[in-house]
Amino acid sequence: MDTLSYLGQGFGVALSPYNLVTALTGTLIGTVVGLLPGLGPINGVALLIPIAFALGLPPESALILLAAVYLGCEYGGRISSILLNIPGEASTVMTTLDGYPMARQGLAGVALSLSAWSSFIGALIATCGMVLFAPLLAKWAIAFGPAEYFVLMVFAIVALGGMAGDKPLKTFIAALIGLFLSAVGIDANSGVYRFTGDNVHLADGIQFVVLVLGLFSISEILLLLEKTHHGHVAVKATGRMLFNMKEAASVFVVNIRCGLLGFFMGVLPGAGATLASAVAYMTEKRMAGDKGKFGKGDLRGLAAPETAIGASCCGALVPMLTLGVPGSGTTAVMIGALTLYNITPGPLLFQQQPDIVWGLIASLFIANIMLVILNIPMIRIFTRILAVPNWALVPVIAIITAIGVYAVHATTFDLFLMVGIGIMGYILRKLDFPLSPILLGFILGGLMEQNLRRALSISNGELGILWSSPISMSTWALVVVMLALPLLRIWRRRSARQRALADA
């Protein structure tokens, strides 16, 4: 009962006109920052902290502003994914897989509005989960040690196995390239530099932004350039800007499932939106089986990652608020902002400053609703991008991409690296290699290696640690289920065929 009255109090804080305007401003700024490839929520939030502080915003308004920017950025990232096939952030890589084909089919407006709707449901589920179970979940999240994370990565990789599709060898090679790229840089355990060629710029490894923008943005620019020679086929967005009830109903179950999944993944510090969206997409693809047209503009393929992203963003706030431990890079920056206000996130926050915590939770609800309302009239403007001819679009994308990379790292080395990776991406695309496995190999490979080695240094090299806890045991069980699913389907199909033969 306490919870409800606190939540009511929180809405009181969040619904004051001043804070409503703050949230609205935040979502707007966030959307714009997220729209720019390369600039993600971390940059958006880091950019606004000094401004919020300089404006003398009271702590709860500042926190509301930052949370609104965070959600706005996550939303903005999908716009370029859907319209241009360029993921604005790491997490929206999966959105391109079905979002972009939808846009090519003239359904850009539908794709944008449906993704907004999906992420709204995801965020809603996550916020409810946060209200009900935050302290409980925090305990669960810290029980995840390196061994458990390793098993989780195994699960993710098994889930992604379905990605192989019709070109297993090329997918495998692409994933290996990603794995290799993740190995560049300082080795966390021994402090040895790997594959850096004595170049200090590579000491921290290849930055994810550089890889994403190189692979997707630069190679897309090269492809667009090539196409202008063959004449450009403009895609017209259909008159319909909104999804209809039938479409929403068809993905509703997907929304619920992926919302829950995204929330749990978000609560785990270190897993985050990228992993959540990837696992959500692949799980849904598996469940849909051969009937789905995943990768060719399936509504479920768009809804699944979007719901998961929306949910995991809110989930990431749970460890921050309850334990003072960052759930993602962005929340790490937000913790920094809180300490500026002399607020220490952690177990005492709920007791000492309920106003701030519940005001923030309530403002998450409000920011999510605002995003949906704000974006529906803007979809018409966004879809106009599709009508821009390539000779204008290509340079603009190139400039924005370069600014994005330079703004984050301020070195020209990263720009050259991005172009180099872009050319490699272009060649791989011409050879018909899928690009997203490179990215997933990069993220999962890095995390998996790190956690395996941490786990083994904890156990002094004994492999038993990998299946000793209940959490890792149950994750292994999920791995087995994931592996068994396709076999089961084959077996069922075969028995059906035999029955059909017997009947005939």
Binding site: G145, I186, D204
Partner: protein, 325 residues
């Protein structure tokens, strides 16, 4: 008369000129050589607000980020690409010096830049979960002596990093080879706290500023803080130092700024003067306290001497632990 006028004009132009020389650099910028949100970011933001508050700069400095190798990328960029840019400050920490000492900063050594100021420090700390069987540093050292493979130590960096050095010094005190420790490399203070709370590691080698929130909430205890004397803060004065427990281990994590090697002496003097004024002000002390940093103010030549001495010490340590030949 004419001569007098010329003299006057000369004097006036000299004044003007010197006035210009003493003016603040154009477009001041503070490079935080890491991603937003870390200690370097904090260092830059501290100077950003303190310099404006003390009216030493009319506009706040820009803070830009140049992550890579605990400052190696920024160090190389400044030395090679903009050595004479008077407006560019770069943040450094003891971690940068440690890497410099190990030759991880590329082809440049500690003489390549102009060390400007140190503005504050934190101290290393050895943390355990509150229900840990270890009550003092002696308990830990005894356990390590008995079987170094029994204690899992987590820290926020790789072998050779500051956090690792702290544990290596304790291992040395226990008379065992630091390489025999069961050592887990985590990322930053946040991960250390998570792993300690979750019971995945038994000892966290971290710094006092990062652990404070968890100490206040009662989840984490500090076996020893690696400072000369007990820390002068109401909530920290009960934390014992390693020194008073009989281990001569002091590990400050100093934070400060340097300038490019070809910045003119006048500009360097202007910055030094401004930092001297800033470091002496009470407003600055308040801002520094807010960021959980302890007093440590050095500028100019004193700092330069400190840096060189520190690098030499780190080099000796690194050699002793077999990190460099």
């Amino acid at each position: 008369m004419k001569i007098a006028l010329t003299r006057l004009a000369l004097a006036a132009s000299c004044l003007l000129l010197s006035g210009q020389l003493l003016a603040e650099p154009k477009r001041p910028e503070c490079i935080a050589p890491a991603a937003p949100g870390g200690g370097f970011d904090l260092t830059c933001k501290l100077a950003q607000s303190a310099l404006v508050d003390a009216k030493l700069l009319s506009k706040p400095m820009r803070v830009t980020y140049m992550p890579g190798g605990v400052g190696a990328v920024a160090y190389n960029a400044v030395v090679a690409q903009r050595p004479a840019d008077a407006g560019t400050l770069v943040a450094w920490s003891s971690g940068s010096l440690l890497n410099l000492a190990q030759g991880k900063f590329g082809r440049f050594d500690e003489n390549a830049v102009k060390w400007l100021a140190a503005v504050g420090t934190s101290y290393g700390a050895i943390a355990v979960k509150s229900d840990s069987p270890y009550k003092t540093l002696d308990d830990l050292v005894a356990a390590l002596k008995k079987d170094p493979g029994k204690v899992v130590i987590g820290s926020g960096g790789t072998v050779g990093s500051q956090d690792w050095m702290q544990t290596a010094l304790i291992a040395k005190a226990a008379g065992i080879n630091p390489r025999d420790l069961r050592y887990v490399a985590l990322e930053g203070g946040g991960e250390i706290a998570t792993a300690l709370l979750g019971g995945h590691i038994q000892i966290g080698s971290t710094d006092i500023s990062d652990s404070m929130p968890h100490i206040q909430s009662g989840n984490i205890r500090i076996l020893a803080v690696l400072s000369e004397n007990r820390l002068d803060e109401p909530e920290m004065k009960d934390i014992p130092t390693a020194k008073e427990q009989g281990y001569d281990i002091v590990w400050p994590v100093v934070r400060g700024f340097y300038l490019g090697p070809k910045v003119s002496d006048e500009d360097y003097a202007w910055w030094k003067d401004s930092f001297d004024k800033m470091l002496a002000s009470e407003d600055f002390a308040k801002l520094r306290d807010q960021r959980e940093l302890f007093p440590f103010a050095l500028t100019g030549e004193e700092l330069d001497a400190y840096v060189k001495k520190q690098v030499a010490e780190y080099k000796a340590l690194a050699k002793e632990f077999g990190l460099i030949q």
